[in-house]
């Protein structure tokens, strides 16, 4: 008996892996080839990974006594994956080998729940995946099949089938695959288009379609002189960030505010590290453009926003789109834009009466109606008032403290200063998330940074400790990892002190 050609498919629920197998089986049958497929479909629901395994006997009419139901390590001829991590999984499990396996995979990523729910960037290193793909398979056909499916109006499985047909690894002519799609009788035209796309790709007939990263138009604001000022004094590697920061802050507030940004950066630039300047410039711009209701209203009423939303929800040119925004400001959000003295009095009262964090005003604003839009537009127009607001005062004070710590740390260790600058990543979000992030940030400053600056940790240890604490703070929202990490750091610094004594 001729050795069967073995095919392993890794897919996500809902990718149509079962239909893909049906097509391959039907195409093989039409050529008189013995074929067997089986699957571990996972659960009926849509998030789990599923695998399918097929064996095709390459000689027509050959007997098929014992086709296997399980793939074996090192014995897979063709591995198909509907997503890059699933390709990685087949490699990880030893099924894909450089001696034997042609790997046909989509390069797009669908993040797993653990990657998505991280508080920062939790996605698996794509570089590692691609390196493993290149080194651990014999031949590769890789492209973004998700996008190809989108462009051809097909489901991804048809593109994958096309790529398999185009790879020439199966003794089955492409007409047989097309016939299988026609026999299937569902979305035939779209699937044939997807098939043609995939086949063309596998044969290198189409150039890799590079994903266009949407670059925002630089706002037409008169900021040349500020940009020029930055160019004169700052190292080149920081300029793209600084320029973006200038533009951001002019749009957020005004030229004066952007000038304050540059003044603050001058003091950091004087510390002599281009990298520190770049990182600080990045976070400083984000911190200075803190999210208050004025900022949210600005974002929600910008002209390009409606265009972007229409594209995102795929509305056709003649289809009206109605938008409803979900807002739920609480006492703190309202106080944020009041004068500081008044805001403090209200907050004290709200705290005392237990209303703080409890009372919220649920608002569903329809921004595609004139009245709804006008209300938000009014809020956005309060920009001139912002520097007189409570939140502004609080934020500026907090920013100054942060910059001061960076300035103090830099002479001891630039790395430590950079880590402190990076700590600003913890401060983000709204409501409870914001408070929790700010709390974590303050804890780390009080329990790690300040002791370190007081000399209880060596600069090297302190740098690592701050980095560890930051990662821990982002690891879980309940703050358990952070507490553990801080305890460990405190213990090690005590030990160091003892050793020194």
């Amino acid at each position: 008996m001729a050795k069967p050609i073995t095919i392993l498919v890794g897919a996500l629920g809902g990718d149509g892996g079962g239909v893909l197998c049906d097509w391959i089986v039907a195409a093989a049958h039409s050529q008189g080839l013995a074929v067997q497929a089986t699957q571990i479909p996972g659960v009926a629901q849509r998030t789990g990974a599923t695998t399918y395994y097929l064996e095709v006997v390459p000689t027509p009419g050959a007997a098929s006594t014992a086709l296997a139901l399980n793939p074996a390590i090192g014995e897979v001829d063709v591995a198909l994956a509907t997503e890059l991590l699933e390709a990685g999984r087949m490699i990880f499990n030893g099924f894909v080998t450089p001696e034997r396996t042609t790997l046909i995979a989509s390069t797009h990523r669908v993040l797993a729940i653990g990657e998505r729910s991280a508080m920062g960037d939790g996605s698996f290193d794509v570089g590692r995946l691609l390196r493993a793909v290149k080194e651990r398979s014999k031949a590769q056909i890789l492209f973004d099949m998700d996008q190809a499916a989108e462009e051809s109006g097909a489901v991804l499985n048809a593109v994958l089938l096309g790529a398999l047909a185009g790879s020439g690894r199966l003794p089955i002519p492409e007409q047989a695959f097309e016939a299988a799609i026609r026999e299937g009788g569902k979305a035939v035209d779209a699937n044939l288009a997807g098939f043609a796309f995939g086949r063309g790709h596998a044969r290198g007939e189409l150039a890799q379609v590079v994903r266009e990263h949407h670059k925002r138009q630089a706002a037409a604001l008169s900021v040349e002189d500020l940009v020029e000022r930055a160019r004169r004094s700052y190292p080149a590697m920081s300029l793209d960030i600084v320029e973006e920061g200038i533009r951001r802050l002019v749009a957020y507030q005004d030229r004066r505010y952007a000038t304050l940004y540059l003044d603050r950066l001058d003091a950091i630039n004087a510390l002599g590290s281009a990298e520190l300047l770049r990182e600080t410039a990045r976070h400083l711009a984000v911190r200075m453009s803190f999210e208050d209701v004025i900022r949210v209203a600005q974002a929600k009423t910008s002209r390009e926003r409606l265009t972007r939303v229409r594209a995102e929800v795929r509305a056709k040119a003649d289809e009206p789109v109605m938008l409803t925004e979900h807002f739920k400001p609480g006492i703190e959000e309202i106080c944020a834009i009041l004068p500081p003295a008044m805001a403090r009095r209200i907050l004290v009262w709200a705290e005392r009466t237990g209303r703080l964090g409890k009372v919220h005003f649920s608002m569903h604003v329809r921004t595609t109606t004139v009245w709804g839009f006008a209300r938000l537009r009014f809020l956005a127009s309060l920009r001139w008032w912002r520097p007189r607001s409570f939140r502004y005062a609080e934020e500026q004070a907090e920013i100054e403290r942060w910059l001061a710590v960076i300035r103090v740390a830099a002479p001891t260790s630039i790395e430590l200063a950079r880590e402190i600058a990076e700590l600003a990543r913890l401060i983000k979000g709204y409501g409870d998330t914001f408070k929790c992030g700010l709390g974590n940030y303050r804890r780390i400053v009080a329990e790690v940074v300040e002791p370190a600056l007081a000399g209880s940790l060596s600069p090297k240890t302190a740098t690592d400790a701050v980095a560890n604490a930051r990662v821990a703070a982002l690891a879980d929202p309940e703050g358990e990892s952070l507490s553990k990490t801080l305890t460990a750091i405190a213990a090690s610094s005590t030990m160091m002190r003892r050793a020194a004594e």
Binding site: R46, A66, A112, R116, R303, H326, D432
Partner: protein, 716 residues
Amino acid sequence: MLDQPQVPIAQRTNPERSFREEVRALRLGNGEIFRGEGILAVTKAILQSGVAYVGGYQGAPVSHLVDVLVESQDLLDELGVHLETCTNESSAAALLGASINYPMRGCVTWKSIVGTNVAADALSNLASPGVIGGALIVVGEDYGEGASVIQERSHAYALKCSVWLMDPRPSLPTIVRCTEKAFELSEISNTPVMMELRIRACHVTGEFVAKDNQPPAISRNNRLADPALHNYDRISHPPSTYAHEKLKVDVRLPAAQRFIVEQGLNELFPGERSDLGIIVQGGITNVLMRGLDRLEVEGKIPTLVLNVTHPLVPDQIADFCRGKRAVLIVEEGAPDYIEQAVNALLRKRDIDTRIHGKDVLPMAGEYTAEVVTEGLLKFFAQTANDIDLSRPRERFEAARAGRAEAQRLLGGPLPLRPPGFCVGCPERPVFSAIKLLEREVGKVHISSDIGCHSFATLAPFNLGNSILGFGMSLAAAGAVAPVMQRRTISVMGDGGFWHNGLLSGVASSMFNRGDRVLVIMQNGYTSATGAQFIPNTAGNRRDGETTSDIAATLKAMGVKWLRTIRTYNVGTMLKTLREAMSTDHAGLKVIVADGECQLARQRRIRPQIAAQLKRGERVVRTRFGVDDEVCTGDHSCIRLSGCPSLVVKPSPDPLRSDPVAHVNNGCVGCGLCGEVADAAVLCPSFYKADIVQNPSWWDRLVWRLRSSVIGAMASG
């Protein structure tokens, strides 16, 4: 969808799964070629065998058997076959009681091991009197990769009840022959027969030559005038049971063993090595054969394939082993029943063949290609050093080294993809609300159950302390609730409620004045097994009328504190949970969380909407979105929802490095993300977009007017 009226439970009808192709395959006649999956082949084989009745309870990988027959009502009517969609496995096993008194063939199916556990009482009482009509139980073995249940062997039931167990080699002709022969075996030995099929065997594709379907002699179309004469011997009650026990060993067992040999149910694959042999369970023959091929000894080692794993035929085993130095037993799972039995019977006959099995193969876990190959290498190393295995061993070691290298390159384990709730699932909002409740009152003991909602025990919810079986969550909190300062919450699906929860849980809790909270997910189907109907679904498959309403049932049972809440209203759900946790009412508090299974709903409405659009009718499509400029990338919305269409994408903002949330086009507009953002006071990034397709002239006019005013007001 929040704005769209919810379909009341009584109108949630056929989820419109279609098995048209499968139904056609069941009608094939003599000489035609059947092509399809293993479980469908079994379905065809039982019709070819002239069954009078079929029943079962859904569960992977055997749901398909009943599902396809539900849609084959015409065919069943023609043949006169009765179909019973049972409410649990116990009811399915009891169905076979028809074959105790009447010469009718019947087949029931369920998922093992869990289903067999539920069926155990009826199974024992069926096995004791035995049957005069062939009785077949098709059990789906959910074992190994992808399994969703505890890992135990159905074999134990076969042994202790004295029912026979078939484990056919996974090739369609063999599966079909075994199915047909199972009925004969059952009749000739008056014993029910279980046939176990593993997941891969149920889904394996293949072909066989079909035969005509056989209409049963006694059937719905050909009714009996009188019941069977009273015969106390057929009743599972003392003193008959004492006689039954003797009959099992003295009469039925030998009859079965004779039939197995006469019909050649077990297969002998010859080989030139007369000194060695392998005995294998039919179901894993293909793994073994490929393993032998890998070691370049395929066809050389005589192999006895046990398509019937209980009873064993001592003479057959002894004859196979006699004169051999060593025999390997390839038997998946623990304990090693077959290996023990073979050792014992050889010992009794003084046959000194060395038996290997669990010494070279692992006691527990799935017998994958790799595991079996390693076992074979060890077996041959110990028993046949004249076979040169150096090349295969090198290849095998190289493949393993390659895998280690791949894992080093990838640098650690890859992110897992645990199953989770579907896009727009109505159960997700309940767990979002429970998470928010825990923020207020602290951690709560949550007694989980079987069903889609058990996914809440996984990321991102991580809610749930125990799972005790299907419909058991309320009962499982029985001794926890009295020792907790806070009330316990038991979560149960409507599937679980009808399967067991009503009696084991609700009745028992009421009877014992339990102070507990029960949340019943009323989505209208047993969704995790493929959206089958249950008593509270509109679609009783015959007349479209709801059989039993859950709230009415609970009221009738005396439940005083009862609320039915639409699941998507997270705020209301949270309020109701808060009330249930704090009310002075000391008895059982039940929240019926109502929301139709989104998979079923989408299957139903998608074709309707497509048709409306084609006719040019106005259709409003709702979905949600995230303003990436406003999102700061903290992902709290994902941690409180986990919706597959709520994903992350790189931040378009060059100043921010953390990816931002994004709603992809899988969104069905259930509105949970907006609700959660509202209830948890998360952030103002979410927006709802209603896209008016085929807009009317009025829609367009209003839109144009608004757009022109808004355009003038907008900032640059």
